[in-house]
Symmetry: C2
Subunit: 265 residues, 2 copies
Amino acid sequence: MDNGPIGVFDSGIGGLTVVDALAKSLPNESILYVGDTARVPYGNKSKVRIQEFTNEITQWLIDQKSKMIVVACNTASSLALDYIKLKFDLPIIGVIEPGIHSAISITKNKQVGVLGTNATIKSDAYGEGLRAANDKISVVSQPCPLFVPLVEEGWVSGDVPTAIATTYLEPIKRSNVDTLILGCTHYPLLKSILRQILGSDVSLVDSGEATAAAVNSVLSKNNIVSNKNTGEIHCYVTDSRDSFEALAGRFVHANISTITHVDIS
Amino acid sequence: MDNGPIGVFDSGIGGLTVVDALAKSLPNESILYVGDTARVPYGNKSKVRIQEFTNEITQWLIDQKSKMIVVACNTASSLALDYIKLKFDLPIIGVIEPGIHSAISITKNKQVGVLGTNATIKSDAYGEGLRAANDKISVVSQPCPLFVPLVEEGWVSGDVPTAIATTYLEPIKRSNVDTLILGCTHYPLLKSILRQILGSDVSLVDSGEATAAAVNSVLSKNNIVSNKNTGEIHCYVTDSRDSFEALAGRFVHANISTITHVDIS
């Protein structure tokens, strides 16, 4: 038993879709969330830089008594997860492994698509992971760099997101993919448009939901489940609270207790 | 006479449209450009943070013997120009004043539009400057947060940018604006789409061109014009060179001598 918080972080606000899934499935766990909004986005930055950022935030979350760490950012999960696993002792999971396991269990024809930021797709973390898990899997990857600014602009339905998503999904539609991993924490907010374009033949894997299931199993295995009645969500942002506060409600439905500015770097 | 470089900086790659205009009109001046790509974009960050970044980069450009500073970033010009002018002794100009003066000289009906990032529009730097220059001017401002990622994705023509630009320009079209300031250094790459949507009745003000004219006059006034035959362009980026190098040719037509990584923060 451990009533310490689960430490979750993302480059910005997108990781709140993981917080949303955690709050739904593990309502008695407290969550400490860091959005590195002073340095967002990670998707167009180098591996060295992202490892440095990830290291600093993980250390800070550990200093706040986090019992485990969830790297709720696909870019940081793909570029820096192994790096911090070597440096720190507590359980650490990313959002990529859970998404891969979920996709492998769903796909029937072994053709899996992956959408992500430029950095995530370039790292081929999903492709490598999928092929390592099952060497019969073939992977179609598609970078979608405009999806994050679209979601943050609040344009999740209508002509513009439909035109952008149609362009990005064209190679996915041409393929025989039956399962599509939403490889960025912002993308679940575009689910309905993606469903509309792809139809019901393609299953969408929301890595937030997959990650929440993985967290549950890590907590049990390590005997660090909370015995509190209810958990709280506390958010920390490295830039000002304003824009985070304005957008947070789009990403997480549970109540956020506090949003506080913090200097980490 | 001073053969030192003109120090130019932006949060990322967009300021290269200013470099492009400088290289065209002042080909015998050398340019030292910093793209703060490790911390791009500035448009969604707070004033305090942007002042801190601007201060660090200005100091670095001065350490490299820059004879004047051009803040080729609308967000930093609107939020941090006065701040660094108080701290440093050399001539410093931003991209906002020149854009304002150009618009004032062009508009006939005194109705001016401004496009920019969220932070630039929220600061109302253009609105305040236009009204201070002429209290009969009325201003229609429109934030266009998707334009920067669009340009960086290379989508500067076709359905998607047309749909996005049509949405953003709707309030401008409804108004009687006869002059439109492109209040972000990325936007000149969308000129042809903007012209197509607005028709020939609206004059577009490219602040890069306006800024190059202002630099010319600052150099003469301070007797710091170069007497070299040709200038060189040297670029420094705070993240890795790769993506900057891949995109730079879209923004600047002159030859870039070197692109180097530098740690400034």
